[in-house]
Structure formats: structure tokens, C-alpha cells
């Protein structure tokens, strides 16, 4: 019964990744559903690290990906409380080891002539690309595993970030050998 005991006890070098669990919700596409979720987090003192929302292939439902700080509350309690919301249809807890995660980043970096090439090279090496450039600044878009995005953001920090926007993590369960998902 002890909440969140399973996943949290795993050994993982990266502490913050273990503290931050991704909860994927399938919700009915009804007015106010996001307010219900956000309101639940604030009144119960749960911390949201990031949040991403968009409709699924079925327009009746949206997928909400919430990265929860499990230090603030046991994951099981977060899941059980979310499950009580009438518009929440399905909840999947995804440990980083069991999920394919992705995040999109847009970052504008100030550059001089020398480091523009370096930024472009770093972007390419990480799987991103320059989507805008003027003398003195470039904007890079990168969609990748959140760890890669974190590393890239750190690298860009050295060049001087002007503006940055990340979407928050989204995820689906890893595929198993027979083609079905694990979850």
C-alpha cells in the first residue's frame, strides 16, 4: 500500500528524474477540466513540475502529461485524488525507465560571429535546428529526450539565453517485444 514505493526505490543516478514522475492522464474534453486538475494540485499541496495538454486522435479526449514532484506528496495519493475527478478517464504512471519521453524547446541565444557556428553545430548534434537567425541572435528548436534538452539548455546558457520556452514533458509507454505497450 505504501504509496509510490515501487518506482521510487529503484536505483537511479539522476536524483531529480526519480523525484519527478510523469503521470499521463486521459481526460474528457470538457470545459473546465484543466481548472479541476490544477485546482486539485493547489488545494492538496501537490507540486507540478511541468504540464502539457492537447487533444488526442479522438476529439472527445485530451491527453494531459503532468510531471509531479513526488517529494511533495506520495505518488499514489496524487494518482488516487486525480482518479476521483469525474472527467479523468484513465491514469498511467510512467517511470522514466518505462517510458519514451520527449520535450520541445525553443531558445533564442545571443551570439557573435564566432559562436554562431558553434551553436548551430551543437543544435545539429543534439538533433535540433536553427529556425531563425539575425545578426547577433539565433533561435534553435529542439525536440528530444528531456535529458538531451536539459544538456542542450545548459550548453546554451554559456552563450547567453535571451528567451526560452519548453513545453513540458510528454511520454508514452515503451513498446514491448510483442508490439503491445507495457502499461
Amino acid at each position: 500500500m505504501s504509496a509510490a514505493a515501487g518506482p521510487v526505490e529503484r536505483n537511479d543516478d539522476d536524483d531529480s528524474r526519480v523525484r519527478h514522475h510523469l503521470v499521463a492522464l486521459l481526460v474528457e474534453n470538457k470545459a473546465g477540466v484543466l481548472a479541476r486538475i490544477a485546482g486539485l494540485f493547489s488545494r492538496r499541496g501537490f507540486n507540478i513540475f511541468s504540464l502539457a495538454v492537447a487533444p488526442t486522435h479522438d476529439p472527445r479526449f485530451s491527453r494531459v502529461s503532468i510531471v509531479v514532484d513526488v517529494e511533495s506528496a506520495p505518488l499514489q495519493q496524487v494518482v488516487d485524488q486525480l482518479d476521483k475527478l469525474v472527467n479523468v478517464v484513465e491514469i498511467t504512471e510512467l517511470h522514466p525507465d518505462d517510458a519514451r519521453e520527449a520535450e520541445l524547446l525553443l531558445v533564442t541565444v545571443s551570439v557573435d560571429d564566432d559562436d554562431q557556428a558553434e551553436v548551430e553545430a551543437l543544435a545539429t548534434a543534439s538533433g535540433g535546428k536553427v529556425v531563425d537567425a539575425v545578426p547577433g541572435a539565433v533561435t534553435v528548436m529542439l525536440a528530444a529526450d528531456p535529458v538531451v534538452v536539459d544538456d542542450f539548455e545548459d550548453a546554451m546558457r554559456e552563450h547567453g539565453i535571451v528567451e526560452l520556452q519548453r513545453t513540458g514533458r510528454i511520454a508514452l509507454p515503451k513498446l514491448s517485444a510483442d508490439g503491445a505497450t507495457d502499461a
Binding site: 500500500m1 504509496a3 474528457e28 485546482g39 495519493q77 482518479d83 472527467n87 478517464v89 484513465e90
Partner: protein
């Protein structure tokens, strides 16, 4: 069939079997009040929307059916937020309909506009803003289903004025399609087997039974479980009436002002059989010190309550009645496989110890001289506990008792004995002062054949007494006993105990207002009692009056404290008993 949205709403409420609505009209809800004239539903016009909400709660608590309230937009809606929060805490099924400004005006700061669904998000099980008149029958069907199933609770339907006025084709609701709402029912057989084994092995079990017993109709099942296992039973403030209190297995109520025996039995227990409870802080005291040697079987319909406060060794997420019945079945099988392996005989040492505590530490108060019957000597100040005892002695076995919040509530809980389910109505989780008068009114509407007494404090009474005008006008003959100690007594008690008797803003005055004249002004009979010998005659007189409400102003001892007490945040081991019991061996 073509109807207005308002007519469709009333028709939908009628088809849900609604017999009474507590409400108060206003601008945005006006269209809905027109078809009420032609409806079979009785409407009771309250004097303040908070009264409508608490009356609906009282009605729901005694009948088991959802209470229905109707208010207008803006202040009408905000005035009923407190009853919604109260019902949410105590899992009371309510359906509240609030008027709203026209959909085209929403978001424009229109007259009497508030974001009602937003405001009530955190205090309802679910809410709806109706945006299409054709949805009305479906929304009403969903609202009643959600309010009454699983863990019951309040819901709100926000009803814009243009939707009420629109013409619509009325079609009965379709089968409900709520993909995200599937309350559990049947227990997991493996968990039941595991629980039965724990019970059979326990030497010091305690059945800790709460509001879930009453809500799921599990009183018979609970009695069977207690009989089969021989385990003692404690019923929480919300669970009172779920187990007959004349039964020798009953230990009293647990918690901050619970009985020494119930509190201490849980502390020394090796197995808590927790049925429809949520390990409330008023019950557990300091959680880390609560029942340290006990394993826990937690039967609860709300999955989120299991493990929220206390880890469960066996979790049974199911309807309380079905789970207890399954448990009784499993234990009967165990008993036939291994006769004598568990039961009352094996628990004899435990129950003997509990009996000793019960005899040594009953609820008590200073009865004046040691001479028998000296309470009526007229010298001693009138003790509030004495009033409750006399009231219990002078009312039928199945009388309904309603209370407000504070010292009087705890004395009522301590000195009343409940033999029947749904005879005790109070505000447990939220602690809403002013609950009693309107809740008693609602209870009497729900159970007109029963005698309904409210025990109220003078502070509480002043918050919602205007509903006595409602009771008089609607011929709802409730009886109100004000335990008037001239103070906000529970706050005064805390200042006495924890703030070095520095009494800050707790004195109210015993004769301002004049409660007798206030009662009379509202069409009630008003009586005043200042000494012990006047108590019984006043109660008898009140009991004889059945054509109007009665208010009795009992002038009680101002300095009386509620004992026992576990100070907030303390361990239940540190329970403070009545001074006269302080030296007794524990």
C-alpha cells in the same frame, strides 16, 4: 414534448423523486421559480441561502436521500458555499441548483455574476455549467447519480437564465455515460480472506466504524461482524447510530473528546478494523503515535482515503456494506473449518480490561454534593451535561438529535445514547457553527413523524436563528435547546488550557439577546431555564408542543470544560481525563 429549460429542470427533478427543495429565489433563477408553482415538489422558502444548504443536509442525513437546494446567482451561490463545503467533508449527498447570468453575459462582470463553478470546484464532488437546454435531463441524472453513489457528496448545477428561458424538446435521459466515474462496489475476495485471517489471529482487535457504515446501510452487517468476532466497537462522530450504544461491546466515541476507553483501546490494540473511516486528525491525535501496535484493515469506498493518513496492512476498496458482509461470510467459513479459533471467548482478557476502563472512566461531570439527587438542590449551577442527560431520558428512543459545533456538540455526543441509524445530525469535518437550526428544520421535514431536538450553543444559535421564522411559517415544529453559557465556549476552553486563561473575544453575554423574546418574535414558544429543577418541566412542556417550534434558553455553567481531552497535536496516550478521575490507575 416542448418545454422551457426551467420546466425541463423541474420535470427532471420530479423524475428523480425529489419531494422537497429548500431555496430562495432571485434574479437569475427567477424563470425556474415559475414552474415550481405547478410542481408536485414542495418548496421551503428559507431566510438565508446558508439555511437552505444546511436544511438540505439535515434532510439527507436522516432520510438517506439527496437533499436539494436552489439559490440564485452571485451572493445566492456564495452563501451556499459553506453548506457545500460542510457536505463535502461529511460525504452528504446534496444537489444544489444555482441560477447564473445569461450565457452571453458570463465573463462580463454582470449584475450578481460570480464564477460559481470555479468557486465551488474544491467543495463539490462535481459541478456543471449548463450551456445547452437539451442537456438538462442528462445533467440532472448525472448529478443525482454522482451525488448518491460511491462516496456520496454534494454536486452543483449552475443554470444560466437564458438556458432556463430557452425552448427545448424534452427527452428523458439516456443511460449514463461517465467513463471517468466508476465507484467500486464488490470487494476483492483475496483481500477479504486476508482480512479474515488477521481478525482471527488478533488478540486485541477494535472495530473503528465511521460514517461509511450509515451511508452504505451497513448497520446490520456491522452488528453481525461484532457478534461473530466478539470485537469491541467504537463509532466516530459521523458514525454514531451505526451501532446500538446499549450493546456492551460499544466503547464510546473515539477522538479528541472521545471516551477514555475508546481512545485507549485503539492505542493498545493489535488490530484496527477500520470501516468507512478516514483517520481524521480529531480521531488519531498525533498520527505517528496513533495505535502504534496495531495492524490496520481499511475498508473504504474512496480509494484516496486508503493510505492517506495511515498505512493499511489490508486494503479493501469497496462498498462498506458489501465488504463487511463478505468479511462475515469469510469468517463464518473460517469458524466452521477451525471451530473455536476466534471469537468472544478468545478475546475475554481484552474485553475484561476494556470493561474495567469503562467502569473506571465513564463520561462524568461535577454533580454538586455527593448526596444522591443533589443536582436538583438548586444550589449548584446548571450543568450543560445534566440538560443533555435529562433530554435523553425525556425523549423517545428514536428521537433525532441535531447539534451545532463546539462544547455543546461534544457534550451532546458524550451524554446522548444513539440506538438507531440516522438519528444524529451534526457538522463533523468542517465544524460549521450555525449548522443546527437549519439542519434540524431539514431533518424534521425528512422525518416529520419523529421528534427532532437541536442542541445548540448560544454562539451557534445567533448565526442562523433566522431559520426559525422559516420553521414557524412552514409549520415545522422543531425544538431547540440552547446551552447558553454566554461564551464561545470551546474557544474559551482552549484559551483556558493553552493561553493561560487570557480570554480574548469569547464573551457573548447571557441575556443579550433575550432568547425567549427572540424566539417569540419568530413565532416560536420561548422558555427559560436557570436552575436544575426547572430542566425537566421545561423539557416536558416543550415535548408537548407540536404546532410550532420551541426554543429553550438553558442558562448553563459558564466555566464548564469538556473532558476528556487530547490536546491538538498530542498523542492519544496523553489523554486528559476529568479532574475527578485524574488519580485513578490507568
Amino acid at each position: 414534448m416542448e418545454l422551457t429549460g426551467a420546466q425541463a429542470l423541474i420535470k427532471s427533478l420530479e423524475s428523480q423523486g425529489v419531494e422537497v427543495i429548500f431555496g430562495l429565489p432571485g434574479g437569475a433563477i427567477l424563470p425556474v421559480y415559475d414552474p415550481i408553482i405547478d410542481s408536485s415538489i414542495r418548496h421551503i422558502l428559507v431566510r438565508h441561502e446558508q439555511g437552505a444548504g444546511h436544511a438540505a443536509e439535515g434532510y439527507a442525513q436522516v432520510t438517506g436521500r439527496p437533499g436539494v437546494a436552489m439559490v440564485t446567482s452571485g451572493p445566492g451561490a456564495t452563501n451556499i458555499v459553506t453548506p457545500l463545503a460542510d457536505a463535502y467533508m461529511d460525504s452528504i449527498p446534496l444537489v444544489v441548483v444555482s441560477g447564473q447570468v445569461a450565457t452571453s453575459a458570463i465573463g462580463t462582470d454582470a449584475f450578481q455574476e460570480v464564477d460559481t463553478t470555479g468557486i465551488t470546484l474544491g467543495v463539490t464532488k462535481h459541478n456543471w455549467l449548463v450551456t445547452d437546454p437539451s442537456e438538462i435531463p442528462q445533467v440532472v441524472a448525472e448529478a443525482f447519480h454522482i451525488a448518491t453513489t460511491g462516496r456520496p457528496g454534494p454536486v452543483l448545477i449552475d443554470f444560466p437564465k437564458d438556458i432556463a428561458n430557452a425552448r427545448t424538446t424534452f427527452a428523458p435521459p439516456l443511460p449514463l455515460d461517465l467513463p471517468g466515474y466508476k465507484p467500486p462496489t464488490i470487494p476483492d475476495p483475496a483481500a477479504i480472506e486476508e482480512a479474515a485471517c488477521l481478525i482471527a489471529a488478533a488478540e486485541r482487535p477494535v472495530i473503528y466504524a465511521g460514517g461509511g457504515i450509515l451511508k452504505s446501510g451497513a448497520t446490520e452487517a456491522l452488528r453481525a461482524l461484532a457478534e461473530l468476532t466478539g470485537a469491541p466497537v467504537t463509532t466516530t462522530l459521523m458514525g454514531r447510530g451505526g451501532f446500538p450504544e446499549s450493546d456492551p461491546r460499544w466503547l464510546g466515541m473515539p477522538g479528541m473528546h472521545g471516551s477514555y476507553t475508546a481512545v485507549t483501546a485503539m492505542q493498545r490494540s493489535d488490530l484496527l478494523i477500520a470501516l468507512g473511516v478516514r483517520f481524521d486528525d480529531r480521531v488519531t491525535g498525533k498520527v505517528s503515535a496513533f495505535a502504534p501496535g496495531a495492524k490496520v484493515i481499511h475498508v473504504e469506498v474512496d480509494r484516496a482515503e486508503i493510505g492517506k493518513v495511515r498505512r493499511a496492512d489490508v486494503a479493501v476498496n469497496a462498498d462498506c456494506r458489501l465488504a463487511i458482509e463478505a468479511l462475515v461470510g469469510a469468517l463464518r467459513r473460517l469458524a466452521s473449518e477451525r471451530p473455536g479459533s476466534f471469537g468472544a471467548e478468545r478475546l475475554a482478557p481484552w474485553t475484561a480490561l476494556l470493561r474495567q476502563w469503562k467502569e473506571r472512566f465513564p463520561f462524568t461531570y461535577d454533580r454538586g454534593d455527593d448526596d444522591a439527587g443533589s443536582i436538583t438542590s438548586g444550589l449548584a449551577p446548571l450543568k450543560p451535561q445534566y440538560v443533555i442527560e435529562e433530554l435523553r431520558r425525556s425523549t423517545p428512543d428514536d428521537a433525532i438529535l441535531v447539534s451545532g459545533v463546539g462544547q455543546h456538540q461534544m457534550w451532546a455526543a458524550q451524554f446522548w445514547r444513539f440506538e438507531h441509524p440516522r438519528t444524529w445530525v451534526n457538522s463533523g469535518g468542517l465544524g460549521t457553527m450555525g449548522f443546527a437550526v437549519p439542519a434540524a428544520l431539514g431533518a424534521k421535514v425528512g422525518r416529520p413523524e419523529k421528534m427532532v431536538w437541536a442542541v445548540d450553543g448560544d454562539g451557534c444559535f445567533q448565526m442562523t436563528a433566522q431559520e426559525l421564522a422559516t420553521a414557524s411559517a412552514e409549520r415545522i415544529p422543531i425544538k431547540v435547546a440552547i446551552l447558553n453559557n454566554a461564551y464561545l465556549g470551546m474557544v474559551r476552553q482552549w484559551q483556558h488550557m493553552f493561553y493561560e486563561e487570557r480570554y480574548s473575544e469569547v464573551y457573548l453575554s447571557s441575556d443579550l439577546p433575550d432568547y425567549v423574546r427572540w424566539a417569540e418574535a419568530m413565532g416560536c414558544v420561548g422558555l427559560r431555564v436557570s436552575s436544575p429543577e426547572e430542566v425537566l418541566p421545561a423539557i416536558e412542556k416543550a415535548n408537548e408542543i407540536d404546532d410550532r417550534p420551541v426554543v429553550v434558553d438553558f442558562r448553563t455553567d459558564s466555566m464548564e470544560q469538556v473532558y476528556p481531552m487530547v490536546a491538538a497535536g498530542s498523542s492519544n496516550d496523553d489523554i486528559v481525563v476529568h479532574p475527578s478521575q485524574a488519580g485513578l490507575p490507568r
